[in-house]
């Protein structure tokens, strides 16, 4: 008895929504970064759920499992780490100059 795909997708959507909400409302850069990670994970969850769904059909057809989704998910996990590294480095650079990690502090460049 497995969880229905729709549930997984729904959960992912909720995660994505939380991510977006956090991204748009939070004022701390670190939290913003975390929100983005949340969105990435929502994508990952959907990918994996989708892969399961499609694989079921394919396995019934006698073909191999569908690996496209999981492959992308793995790439995402890897790249997310890199992004986090770069992001933190940038935040540190910011902190060095301004002693703050607030989002408002990066709005000097404007019209």
């Amino acid at each position: 008895m497995s969880v229905p795909t729709e549930y997984l997708l729904g959960l992912a959507a909720i995660l994505f929504g939380i991510g977006i909400a956090g991204f748009l409302t939070r004022r701390n850069l670190i939290v913003v970064l975390m929100s983005i990670e949340l969105m990435l994970n929502a994508a990952n969850l959907s990918l994996v759920a989708g892969a399961r769904m499609h694989s079921t059909q394919r396995l019934l057809d006698g073909a191999g499992p569908d690996l496209q989704g999981p492959v992308l998910a793995i790439f995402v996990i890897a790249v997310a780490a890199v992004e986090a590294a770069v992001g933190l480095a940038l935040i540190i650079a910011l902190y060095r100059r301004k002693q703050t990690v607030s989002l408002e502090s990066v709005s000097e460049l404007r019209d």
């Binding site: 977006i20 991204f23 748009l24 409302t25 913003v32 989002l103 990066v106 709005s107 404007r110 019209d111």
Partner: protein, 660 residues
């Protein structure tokens, strides 16, 4: 056979113009070095007069060449001027036929006399050579107008004389706060109004007949008559061309420029604004007589305009104080007579009056010029009086001119005017009314002419003789007066009434030109007056002239009392006459002011605020939108993210909807 030497007739004065122009600039150069230097300007007068004289001789030669019955015209090779399209060329050739020869003689002859006179009159003027350059150019253009084989060529001359008129009226452009320049401008523009109408008439003729040359047009008009085809468009063309004539010949409603044109030097007034240019409208209509004959309604209109102009201008002449002003209104009035004649179908009478008028009016103007010259540029008759003692030769010749103008019996004006009125009377019906106007005008003419004579030459001296020293003009000015006086007296011989049982010379001469028009207009039965009626009319005319001449002379010979009394008690009538029936005022206050207002309205409200405002508003609008967009680029990451999110959401919604 082509007679290319005919080109010389306008060509000589044109050359003269170029030469005199060059002399003018040479003189200017000489003056640059030494302000008092004379330079070669003095040569201009004799050269100019000589060349016009030469043109007169050539015209006479041409004239005598077409005297016979076998050959009534000479024609030069055409100048292929404007190729209209691949096939048609609007060309011009010089033609001397019975009509243009007569006009040409008047123009060159009177022109020559006036040139001679002007060498004296303009003596010492700083623009002496320039004056003759303009005057010669005028004669050249007038000859082009007359001698052209085509209506296009006539238009060249038509506008050319207008230009010379403009330049010559404004000759003393720096005098009197630039009034001469204004007057010149007015003349040019009023003429242009007529010219615009002329152009349309020309185009309409071309549209109907596919030709510009008079021979074809007249032939086509005859053919139209013969075929009994519709003449509506042709009548319109005739009316439009008459509009042109109204401008050039100072008829209602376009006559107001002529009185102002007196701002020019007096020889100009004599030559252009009395003897020649202003009669070109009459010339044009005679030239196109078959066309006009096709349109009796237009001819009636011509007659009405002529009669009204004659009366209005004649009455205005009654109250003028300016010597030249009287003559100017009188000219307008006499031109009205000529149009009355044309309208009545009396082509010959019209030309007859053109010729006699050229003689006596040129004489009067030159005489007036002599008076003004002798009075040191004084033109106000109220400041003259008793001048017959100071300038006797001028006085005598002036009397001859005045007599002719007022139609005193047996002088030239008497016969020509009588012929016109006789023709009008003969048509009967409503034409009696026009005849009556004509007779009334004759009375006015006699009155104002002799008022003028009285105020100028008789009565007490109303100036300081010691300070002013009025003097007789030199011989070079009085000699032309004498010649013209002789012509003014004897000019009537050209067209004695047939009741005198002598041949009407002019009628006979013009027969080849006018028979087509006569045939179309009246057919076989031209209206004819019984000999008794004609005698009666003749006597009546003489009586009127004599009586009113007497009244005019005696009322004014003792001074200004009559004038002052009229001004004091005349009331509305005096005001109306002083303002020449308010037509000029209507133009300046009504038309000119409206146009000016419209121009300012268009330039400021419509153009600057409206159209350009819209253009600039576009630019400003773009800028303002840009400014207002700036607040979205507020530098905030969350804000940018929100826009991104919203954009993505819209995309998702729209695409999902498409997917469903």
């Amino acid at each position: 056979m082509e007679s290319n030497w005919l080109w010389l007739i306008p060509g000589l004065p044109f050359m003269g113009s170029v030469i005199c122009g060059a002399l003018h600039f040479l003189t200017l150069r000489a003056r640059e070095r030494n302000p008092e230097a004379k330079g070669p300007a003095a040569l201009a007068g004799p050269i100019a007069a000589g060349l016009v004289g030469l043109a007169f001789v050539l015209t006479t030669v041409a004239f005598s060449a077409i005297r016979g019955e076998d050959r009534t015209l000479l024609q030069s090779a055409p100048w292929n001027w404007i190729p209209v399209d691949g096939h048609t060329v609007a060309g011009v050739a010089m033609v001397v036929d019975r009509l243009s020869a007569a006009m040409g003689l008047v123009v060159t002859g009177v022109g020559f006399l006036i040139h001679v006179y002007a060498t004296g009159y303009m003596h010492g003027d700083r623009g002496y050579a320039k004056f003759f350059a303009y005057l010669n150019l005028f004669v050249a253009m007038m000859l082009v107008l007359i001698l052209s084989s085509s209506i296009v060529g006539t238009f060249v001359g038509w506008e050319g004389v207008g230009l010379c008129s403009y330049l010559l009226i404004g000759f003393w452009y720096d005098k009197q706060d630039g009034w001469p320049a204004e007057a010149g401008q007015k003349a040019f523009i009023m003429n242009r109004i007529g010219d615009a109408s002329f152009l349309l008439g020309m185009f309409l003729l071309f549209k109907n007949f596919g030709a510009f040359d008079y021979a074809s047009i007249n032939a086509a008009a005859e053919a139209t008559h013969a075929a009994g085809a519709s003449t509506g468009q042709l009548a319109l063309a005739a009316a439009l061309l008459f509009g042109g004539a109204c401008g050039k010949s100072a008829q209602l409603p376009l006559f107001t420029w002529l009185p102002d044109a007196m701002a020019g030097p007096t020889p100009v007034s004599a030559l252009i604004h009395a003897a020649t240019m202003v009669t070109s409208g009459i010339y044009l209509i005679i030239r196109l007589n078959p066309l006009y004959a096709l349109a009796p309604q237009v001819m009636y209109g011509v007659a009405v305009v002529g009669a009204l102009t004659a009366f209005i201008a004649g009455s205005s002449a009654l109250v003028q104080r300016d010597l030249k002003g009287v003559l100017a209104y009188s000219t307008v009035s006499q031109l009205g007579y000529m149009f009355l004649a044309l309208g009545s179908g009396a082509w010959v009478a019209a030309l007859f009056h053109v010729i006699t008028h050229a003689f006596f009016k040129a004489l009067l103007f030159l005489g007036a010029g002599s008076v003004i010259h002798g009075m040191h540029e004084e033109q106000d008759m109220h400041k003259m009086g008793g001048l017959r003692r100071y300038m006797p030769r001028t006085f005598i010749t002036f009397l001859a001119g005045a007599g002719a103008l007022s139609g005193l019996p047996l002088l030239s004006g008497f016969f020509s005017k009588d012929e016109i009125l006789g023709h009008t009377f003969a048509l009967g019906g409503t034409w009696y009314l026009l005849w009556l106007v004509g007779v009334g005008t004759a009375a006015l003419t006699a009155y104002y002419t002799w008022r003028m004579v009285a105020l100028t030459f008789f009565g007490p001296e109303r100036f300081d003789a010691k300070a002013l020293h009025p003097h007789e003009s030199p011989a070079v000015m009085t000699l032309p007066l004498v010649v013209l006086a002789l012509l003014a007296v004897a000019g009537g011989l050209l067209g004695l009434p047939h009741i005198f049982h002598v041949p009407h010379l002019l009628h006979h001469w013009l027969e080849p030109v006018t028979h087509a028009g006569d045939a179309i207009r009246f057919g076989e039965h031209a209206p004819h007056l019984a000999a008794g009626t004609e005698w009666m009319l003749l006597g009546f005319g003489a009586l009127i002239a004599l009586y009113f001449a007497d009244r005019g002379f005696h009322a004014h010979k003792s001074g200004l009392a009559a004038d002052e009394a009229f001004q004091a008690r005349g009331g509305a009538l005096a005001r109306t006459l002083n303002n020449a029936w308010g037509i000029d005022r209507f133009y300046t206050r009504g038309v000119v002011a409206t146009v000016k207002l419209a121009a300012v309205f268009i330039a400021v409200v419509i153009d600057q605020l409206g159209i350009d405002g819209a253009v600039n508003a576009l630019g400003r609008g773009a800028r303002r939108t840009g400014e207002s967009l700036r607040r979205f680029a507020d530098g905030s990451i969350a804000g940018y993210g929100l826009w991104m999110g919203a954009g993505a959401a819209v995309l998702v919604l729209v695409l999902t909807w498409m997917g469903v």
